[in-house]
Every structure is written in structure tokens, then in C-alpha cells.
């Protein structure tokens, strides 16, 4: 007891300060998190960057005189110029038009796969860990199955069935093969959280399992889940190129950032413009997602200093608590 009290006592001044600023207003967690997120400059910057990337991906082709499919027979492998902003490739495709076209797909693929795979991991892992018993055994058996079966083999076998379908199907496939390890980690963490008193308290007030999972368990591992999601975003964009070999998803003449990077990187020293722009945009996209993720993590974590209101007593409290 003596070890915890001093922080509590020293921490206290922060409470009244935060609360005194808006008498009467009671903010629930949703609003509090939103406000703390909006206070975070880098996170907002990241959010704006993602919006701008999307805008560029869809508006870019409109302002560019070139279409991603048409070839300029007067310029093969031309360096960036006023005529072709990002240069052209071996058969005279405008790289700018292609990059924007690829960005449209890859941004959606990356973000969707990141969100879907992390959500599945969180829900499956937390459900298995929280409920235990046969639910746990069945779910973990499924996870282990997916882990031991080489996913590319399955895809290769199944690919004829998918041929010619929407490329969005492939978001689902990518997500389906990237959530298992995270699910195991989440399960382990849930099992230790399950015994914590605030979880027990929720159970004794009659809260159903889904409520405990979404309200209490998953927020505790928000930082882990967010990091996982941001890492998956970058990974998915590149993994998509691998799957393109199997003949679904983005097929030539259509392009994605992944295929552009794959094709362009072979000539990176002689004609760098073929992949530098695609690569650069991918880095920018992943970086922005990272910033947003970090902002979200800080907003959810009450101990994060960056999300706090910046008043002297406030920082004092946090400082002495550390």
C-alpha cells in the first residue's frame, strides 16, 4: 500500500484542474478520447496527409493529360519532365498516372487489411482468452491450423476459383492470413487481464462477455493493437505483389503501388523514377498511418503526457508520478 499511495497523492492536483476547466460538463470516454486526439498535432498531420493522399490518388488522374493505360510512343523510359511529371516506363506509360492509379488501390488495400486483420485478431484472441474452456480450444485450434498451413499454397490452389473476381476479395484474403499471431498474443494478455479486479467487478454487475471485452479488455491493449495495425498496413501493400503472381487482385495492365515498386526496383540505379515515386508515396502513407496510430494510442492512454492539457500542475503531476 505504501508504494502506491504517494503517486496517488501527488497525482491528485491534476484532477481538479482538468475538471475545473469546464464546470458541469461530463464527458464520456468517446468524447474525451476524441478531444485528446485532436490535441495531438502530429496525429492530425498524419490524418490530413492520409486524406490528401486519397485526394491526390483520385484527383491526380483527372488533372493529368495521360491515362495509366495509354502509351506515349514518343517517350520510352523518359526521365521526369514537364510533359511526363514522373517520367515514363519502358513502353511509354506515364508513371504519374500509373502511380496515382496504384495509390488508389494500395491505400485502400493497406488500410482495410490493417483494420480487418487487427480487428479479427483482437476479437478472436480476446474471446478465446476471456471465455476460455471449449471456445478457447476451438478458436486456438483454428488459429494453429491457419498458422501451420502455408498460406501461399492454399492461395495457389484456390486461385482459379478467384480469377476474374473483384480485387476487393483479395483484401479479405490478405487479412485472412495475417491475423493469427496477433490473436495468440491478445489471448495471452486477455487471460492475465481476466483476473484483474475491474474485470471481475464488471462481471459481478452482470455485464455480458462482449461488453467486458470491448469496454475493458481491448482498450487495455490499444497500444499493441494499434502498432500491429500500422505495421500490417505497410506489409499488406507489399504482400499484395506476391499474391499478384497467383493471378488475382491487381492484374496487368492494372497497377498497384506494390507492382510498381516490384517492377521498377530492378532498374533502380539506371531509371530510379520508375519506383522512387511509388516507394516515396508508400513511405509517406505508412508514416501518416503511424502518426495517426500513435495519436490514437496516446488519446486512449490516460498516462500519456502528450494528450494531456498543458498546464503547469498537470505536467507536475505526471512528472512526479514517473
Amino acid at each position: 500500500m505504501a508504494s502506491v499511495e504517494p503517486t496517488a497523492d501527488l497525482l491528485d492536483p491534476a484532477g481538479p484542474v482538468e475538471a475545473a476547466a469546464r464546470p458541469g460538463a461530463i464527458l464520456s470516454r468517446r468524447w474525451l478520447v476524441l478531444r485528446r486526439f485532436l490535441r495531438n498535432r502530429p496525429a492530425l498531420l498524419g490524418l490530413v496527409a492520409i486524406v490528401l493522399l486519397y485526394a491526390a490518388a483520385f484527383l491526380g488522374p483527372l488533372i493529368s493529360p495521360w491515362d495509366y493505360q495509354t502509351s506515349d510512343y514518343t517517350a520510352f523510359l523518359a526521365a521526369p519532365s514537364a510533359r511526363h511529371w514522373f517520367g515514363t516506363d519502358q513502353i511509354g506509360h506515364d508513371v504519374f498516372a500509373q502511380t496515382m492509379r496504384g495509390l488508389q488501390k494500395s491505400l485502400t488495400i493497406g488500410l482495410l487489411v490493417g483494420v480487418i486483420s487487427t480487428s479479427v485478431a483482437a476479437v478472436v484472441g480476446a474471446t478465446a482468452g476471456y471465455l476460455g474452456g471449449w471456445v478457447d480450444r476451438v478458436l486456438m485450434w483454428g488459429v494453429d491450423m491457419l498458422l501451420v498451413i502455408p498460406s501461399f499454397l492454399i492461395l495457389a490452389i484456390a486461385s482459379p476459383a478467384f480469377r476474374g473476381r473483384s480485387w476487393l476479395l483479395f483484401v479479405v484474403l490478405l487479412a485472412a492470413f495475417s491475423w493469427m499471431i496477433m490473436a495468440r498474443i491478445v489471448r495471452g494478455m486477455t487471460m492475465s487481464l481476466r483476473r484483474r479486479e475491474f474485470v471481475v467487478a464488471a462481471r459481478f454487475m452482470g455485464a455480458p462477455a462482449w461488453r467486458v471485452i470491448f469496454q475493458h479488455i481491448l482498450p487495455q491493449m490499444a497500444s499493441l493493437l494499434i502498432i500491429d495495425a500500422t505495421l500490417t498496413v505497410g506489409g499488406a501493400v507489399l504482400a499484395e505483389t506476391g499474391l499478384s503472381y497467383f493471378g488475382f487482385g491487381v492484374q496487368p495492365p492494372d497497377v498497384s503501388l506494390g507492382t510498381l515498386i516490384r517492377d521498377g526496383s530492378t532498374a533502380s540505379l539506371t531509371t530510379p523514377w520508375l519506383f522512387v515515386f511509388a516507394g516515396g508515396l508508400l513511405v509517406l502513407a505508412v508514416l501518416s498511418v503511424n502518426l495517426v496510430g500513435e495519436g490514437l494510442r496516446d488519446a486512449l492512454d490516460p498516462n500519456a503526457r502528450r494528450a494531456r492539457r498543458r498546464s503547469p500542475t498537470d505536467t507536475a503531476a505526471v512528472g512526479s508520478a514517473r
Binding site: 492536483p13 474525451l32 459481478f204 503531476a317
Partner: protein, 706 residues
């Protein structure tokens, strides 16, 4: 070679020279906000063979000052002033030089005996190591091992020769703390610093440890510094006491003098905030409003002034010096009004304005006419004991709860007491689970939980709520407290309008400001967090509240506020409490009836006054005799009933009476009487003059041990 013959350092100092003299000690730590002044000008002396008690709440600097003496502060701490140990100045010594003094001349006994011992070496080896480190040349390994056994024997570890080979995890908490003390006194120190030595231990073990500490002092003649938050402990063991607040000593003097005539309002309040187990009639506890100040950029003036009911403008102008009271050089207090407090005596309640005791309307009704809200009959909970990882085999049964029966009636508080491992928490969980127990039955508001279906179980949860012990663990750290309090309402389908109305109402009810609803738990103090826990439990307007050690993690002055709150709420909302605690003084204060548990069974149950003043069962008597009373005169006169040994293994409880292996009464019986204890398990039977007092002992006999 005995301890007394051991060579004593470089020549004994003069008989009256203090062993330790601390002068103007100041310790500060850097932090983001500036320097935290943890200790601000502390001066005291301890003479040979003297016991000085240092009391204070958490954050008062009591532990930091003792760590400074040991030279164990982190490197970023800035220390100034002087610490003279015998004839040496300790401040400024290098770590290597300090190491020669530490452990040999100064011993330290820490709060947590488990982390103070290395888990992978036998305790005997660890005691021997303490000897060898400081006399590597003079002592052979074998001699050290032999001395280690001798020392373990000295601190009262039975069968020391065999126990020396045990690993720390094989020993009970009390045994471990004894082993730590054995290590401490191994080199015949001149000063023993005990920092909250019994906070983690049960009350009967606490008595044993203090007994050992007293023996250790007698054997070594060392000065002892006991640091604790427990005023009762200090009353029993210390000769002088120093009260610390916000990094300074605010009062120092002889223990009788201070307890009888405190001259600083803080001391007065602190003494008034402790529930007295020996109190005849219920008296209000004194809560000290507010929080201890933050030690960064402390404003001028007395640090206690913002919480002090007697504060004058002068108090806020300058910090009063520690000045002697009534010309008595031994008793000094830091208060401008200490002269006026001379005649106040123990009337803390008036000075601090403690709330009057409210008797619930229901309590006026005779007990038999009140409704039973919770009835537990022959409750049994067994856990299988298994071995093996691949092929699980059941090798035994852990009798966590073995036939427990009690009832709680409307508007009353049943205190369930017992030491750790007696099954009180298991009993609680079994009740809260609302599922059919292994055997026996649980009835809530007249409904047997075994007959509940899903929906009625959910509905019944409204009426039965729980408050947990640890206010930090019990609140979701990522949920603002408004949401914490609103959660039960949401779960039970309240509309957003009702929630908006109820949350501020509930926060006000438990003494928080509605504006604090958007604070995270980490921004609140321990006491405030516990209030949030209570608000959450009250959100659904339950009829029965289960309180699992609700105040044991709080500081005394804060604890008083929470106890008063619980008392007031019970009267205001007609609640019934099942109050589980190991602190008997708190139970005495709050409970109407008391049930004492030992090893999964109730050994005594009855009306609180009668159990406390005329305990029938030898275990209850031992438990009561172990509670420290914050009254030095009384405390010195009391005789403790020491219990031998440890709690038996609950997987293999003794046949017949479970308590017989440790029973002081059993030892005095003759052969034929003993046979009855061994063969026949005593049932709870009515004892004493009152109809509502039962004990499970064949040879029960009333005894006042307080």
C-alpha cells in the same frame, strides 16, 4: 561464541551519545515539474537501546529519510544536512564505504519479506552470507552456517536446523520476516531500521514479529527505528515517537505524552482517525479533509494549514519551527497554536468536526423482526489439487470453505474476519457468483441462487454489489470515472438521460465533485478512487453490499473518511453490508455482528460488542489480543496470546477441531479432554449470556483480552 561476545566495532561511544544523529536532513528528487522535496529539514537522535517510532502517511517522507540513513537513495536524489552514525558522518561516503557499515552496523528490515530474500537460495545460506560478507577472514563457511542456524533459532523459527535448508517460498510470511530479521541482526548491528515490517502480514504474525524485534534489540542492544503508518504498533513498541508530515517532523516526544496530549492538530487528527477496538460505545472517526500537499514548490506556511481546522492567518505566513512544549525539552511540536491545544486532550472529534453517528431507522427494530437479505447455509467450496502437466491427476482437495453458515439481516453489517488463507475471500466470491455452490446453499433476498435462471440471475445482480480492496486495480485505468460509475447503469439498460442525471448524483453522494467525472482514475487519490468504487456499487441501488477489505489499502486519515461514508450510506440508503476485513479495529467500528473464520470454518459468530469484550473461542481471543491499541499505557499492560506455528495446510486440515494444533487452550488440557478435541469437530453452539453469540469450541470460556 554468542552474540553478546562478538567484537563491537571501533570502541563504544560514550554511554549517552546517540547512536544516530540526523540534523537538517533534506532530500529532493528531480521531476518533470521541478524538484520534489521529499524530506525538508529533519532532525532527530536515537540513543543506544532506544526504540524510536516514525509515523506518517504515505508521501510524508518517512521511508525516504530512512533510506537516506542507509545510503540507499537513487543516485539522482540530492541529499544535504548531516547523518552521524556513532562518530562517522554518513553523507558523502562512497557506496563501498557505506557497504562496510550497512548490514554490519546498520540493519534494515523491509516491508515485503518475500522480495527481501533471494528466491533461489536456502534461507540458511542467505543468513550465512550476511555473516561471511563482513567477516570473510575470521569466519569459516561451516562456522557461518552453524551461526545461521543459531540465529534462525533465536528469531523463533522452530526446528531451525531443518528450516535453514528451506527456500523462501517454502516459508510463511511471518517465517520469512523472521529470517530477514535474523539476517539483520547477524552482525550484531548498532541500529536496526524496520520500515513497515509487518504491513504485509497478518495481525497474529505481526505480534510474533514485534516480539522477535524486541528480542533482537535486547540481544544486540541496538537502537531501533520503527517506521510505520500504524499508530497502534508504535504505541506498543516505541519509547519515543516522531510524527512526520510533508517531509518534516511536526511533533516528537515520549510516546505516552504524545498519545495523551498531542500538541499538533495533525497528530490529534491522526489519533482520532484510528478506530479503537477497545471503544465501548461507537464514537465518530475523525476524517482529515483534503490531501497531503504536493511536495513540488510547496507554498510558504505550515504545510498542514490547508487541512487544519485550527489554521490562523499566521499559519499560512511562515512554517512554524519544531519548538518545545511547556518547556519540556523532550516534547516538541511545530504548531503556532500548540499552547492552546494543551487542554484539548483526545477531543479530536470536536476539533475536526467529525460527523455524528447516525443509527439507521431499521436498526431500532429487533433483529429477529428484520428481513434476512443474505443467508448462507453450510457453504462448501473445494478446489481440486492436481499434479502433472500432461496427465492431470487429482491428488487431493483443498478445503477453502468447509461448511460456513451465517445470515445478514436488513440494515445490519456482518463483519467477516480472519487471517489470510482462512477462506473469507472464497466465501465472498461464492456468494457473488450467484451459482450453485459445491454444497450448501446461498440465498439472497429469499431466493436460492441454485434455482436462478439466466435472466433472474442478471436481475438479482442489481441487489448485490461489491466494493473491492484495491482501489487501483478495481477501476479500469482507461475509463474516465464518469463512465466507471455509469457502467452498471448501462449494463442494466438505463437510458442516456437517466445516466446523465444519476452520475453526478452518485458522485456527490460519495463526496466527490460531479466535475470530476471526466478524470481518469490515475488522476485521483487512493481515497477518492475507493469512493468511485463505492459509487459504482451503489449505482443500481442495491440492497446488499459486499465489501472486500474496502479500507485496508488506504491511509489512516483517508480511511476514516471512507468508513464514515460507508456508515452514513448504510443509514441513508438502508443498506446491508457483508464486510470482509482483517483489521479487527475497523470491523469493531463498523460491524453490528462479527463472524470469525479459521481454516474454512466459522469458529465464532455473534453480536460485535459481545464477541469483542467476551470472546469465547481461543482463536478469537488470540486474534483480539494481537490487535495493537493506540494507547501506550494500555498497550503495555496487555498480555498477548501468541499462536505457535503457522496455518495448517488447507488441503490437509487437522482432524477434529481444526485449531487444536495451534490452540493455547489445547496445551493446558489434560489427556482425556484433548481426545475430545482430536476426535470430535466442535459445532457452533450458543455461548455466553447473549442469545446471539455462538462459538465452536468444546471448552469455550469468555475472556476479555483487549
Amino acid at each position: 561464541m554468542t552474540l553478546a561476545e562478538e567484537v563491537r566495532g571501533p570502541g563504544p561511544p560514550g554511554a549517552d551519545a546517540p547512536v544516530l544523529a540526523v540534523t537538517d536532513l533534506a532530500v529532493s528528487f528531480p521531476s518533470e515539474a521541478g524538484r520534489v522535496d521529499a524530506v525538508r529539514g529533519l532532525s532527530y537522535e536515537v540513543a543506544r537501546g532506544e526504540v524510536l517510532g516514525i509515523v506518517g502517511e504515505s508521501g510524508s517522507g518517512k521511508s525516504v529519510s530512512s533510506l537516506a540513513v542507509m545510503g540507499l537513495l537513487p543516485p539522482q536524489a540530492r541529499v544535504s544536512g548531516s547523518i552521524r552514525f556513532r562518530d562517522r558522518e554518513l553523507i558523502g561516503l562512497s557506496d563501498a564505504e557505506l557497504s562496510r557499515i550497512r548490514g554490519r552496523r546498520i540493519a534494515m528490515v523491509f516491508q515485503d519479506p518475500f522480495s527481501a530474500l533471494t528466491p533461489i537460495y536456502p534461507v540458511g545460506d542467505q543468513v550465512a552470507e550476511a555473516l561471511l560478507i563482513h567477516n570473510r577472514r575470521a569466519l569459516s563457511k561451516r562456522a557461518a552456517a552453524a551461526r545461521a542456524v543459531e540465529l534462525l533459532d533465536l528469531v523463533g523459527i522452530p526446528n531451525a536446523g531443518a528450516r535453514a535448508r528451506s527456500f523462501p517460498h517454502e516459508l510463511s510470511g511471518g517465517m520469512r520476516q523472521r529470517a530477514v530479521i535474523a539476517m539483520g541482526i547477524a552482525n550484531d548491528p548498532d541500529l536496526i531500521i524496520a520500515d513497515e515490517p509487518t504491513t504485509a502480514l497478518d495481525v497474529t504474525v505481526q505480534t510474533q514479529v514485534f516480539e522477535v524485534l524486541t528480542t533482537a534489540r535486547e540481544v544486540t542492544g541496538a537502537a531501533v527505528l520503527v517506521i510505520t503508518h500504524d499508530l497502534g504498533v508504535i504505541a506498543g513498541i516505541a519509547e519515543r515517537v516522531m510524527v512526520m508530515y510533508a517531509g518534516r517532523a511536526v511533533e516528537i516526544g515520549g510516546v505516552e505524552e504524545i498519545y495523551a496530549r498531542p500538541r499538533m492538530p495533525y497528530t490529534l487528527g491522526l489519533l482520532g482517525s484510528v478506530p479503537r477496538p477497545d471503544a465501548g460505545e461507537k464514537r465518530p472517526l475523525v476524517p482529515i479533509e483534503g490531501q497531503p500537499p504536493s511536495l513540488v514548490d510547496l507554498p510558504p506556511g505550515c504545510p498542514f494549514a490547508p487541512r487544519c481546522p485550527l489554521a490562523l492567518p499566521a499559519c499560512r505566513a511562515a512554517e512554524p519551527e519544531l519548538a518545545s512544549v511547556d518547556g519540556d525539552a523532550r516534547h516538541r511540536a511545530a504548531c503556532v497554536r500548540s499552547g492552546e491545544l494543551a487542554g484539548t486532550g483526545p477531543r479530536a472529534a470536536e476539533v475536526f468536526g467529525a460527523p455524528p453517528i447516525v443509527t439507521p431507522a431499521l436498526a431500532r427494530l429487533p433483529r429477529a423482526r428484520r428481513r434476512v437479505v443474505l443467508r448462507v447455509t453450510d457453504l462448501v467450496k473445494h478446489f481440486p489439487v492436481t499434479t502433472g502437466t500432461v496427465l492431470r491427476r487429482r491428488v487431493g482437495t483443498l478445503h477453502a470453505v468447509d461448511g460456513v453458515s451465517f445470515d445478514v439481516r436488513e440494515g445490519e453489517t456482518l463483519g467477516l474476519v480472519g487471517e489470510s488463507g482462512c477462506g473469507k475471500t472464497t466465501t465472498l466470491l461464492e456468494i457473488l457468483n450467484l451459482r450453485a455452490p459445491s454444497a450448501g446453499s446461498v440465498e439472497i433476498l429469499g431466493r436460492d441462487v441454485a434455482t436462478l435462471d439466466r435472466r433472474s440471475r442478471f436481475a438479482l445482480r442489481r441487489d448485490l454489489q461489491v466494493v473491492f480492496q484495491d482501489p487501483i486495480a478495481a477501476l479500469d485505468p482507461r475509463l474516465p470515472i464518469g463512465d466507471v460509475v455509469a457502467e452498471p447503469l448501462r449494463v442494466h439498460g438505463a437510458g442516456s438521460q437517466e445516466i446523465r442525471r444519476r452520475v453526478p448524483e452518485l458522485l456527490t453522494l460519495v463526496g466527490l465533485r460531479p466535475g470530476q467525472a471526466s478524470c481518469y482514475p490515475a488522476e485521483l487519490s487512493g481515497g477518492q478512487r475507493q469512493r468511485v468504487g463505492i459509487a459504482r456499487a451503489l449505482a443500481l441501488r442495491p440492497q446488499v453490499l459486499v465489501l472486500d477489505e474496502p479500507v485496508s489499502a488506504l491511509d489512516v486519515s483517508i480511511q476514516a473518511g471512507v468508513i464514515n461514508l460507508l456508515d452514513g450510506l448504510k443509514a441513508e440508503l438502508d443498506l446491508s453490508y457483508l464486510f470482509v476485513a482483517h483489521d479487527l479495529a475497523v470491523v469493531r467500528h463498523i460491524a453490528d455482528r462479527v463472524a470469525v473464520m479459521y481454516l474454512g470454518t466459522i469458529v465464532e459468530i455473534g453480536e460485535a460488542g459481545s464477541v469483542f469484550t467476551a470472546a469465547q473461542h481461543p482463536y478469537t481471543q488470540a486474534l483480539l489480543s494481537a490487535i495493537p491499541i493506540p494507547d501506550p499505557a494500555r498497550e503495555r499492560r496487555r498480555r498477548r496470546i501468541l499462536l505457535e506455528g503457522d496455518l495448517p495446510d488447507p488441503a490437509n486440515p487437522p482432524a477434529g477441531c481444526r485449531f487444536r494444533t495451534r490452540c493455547p487452550k489445547f496445551a493446558t488440557l489434560d489427556r482425556r479432554q484433548r481426545d475430545r478435541c482430536v476426535q470430535e469437530e466442535p459445532r457452533l453452539t450458543r455461548r455466553g449470556a447473549l442469545p446471539d453469540h455462538e462459538a465452536a469450541c468444546h471448552y469455550a470460556e469468555a475472556r476479555d483480552v483487549l
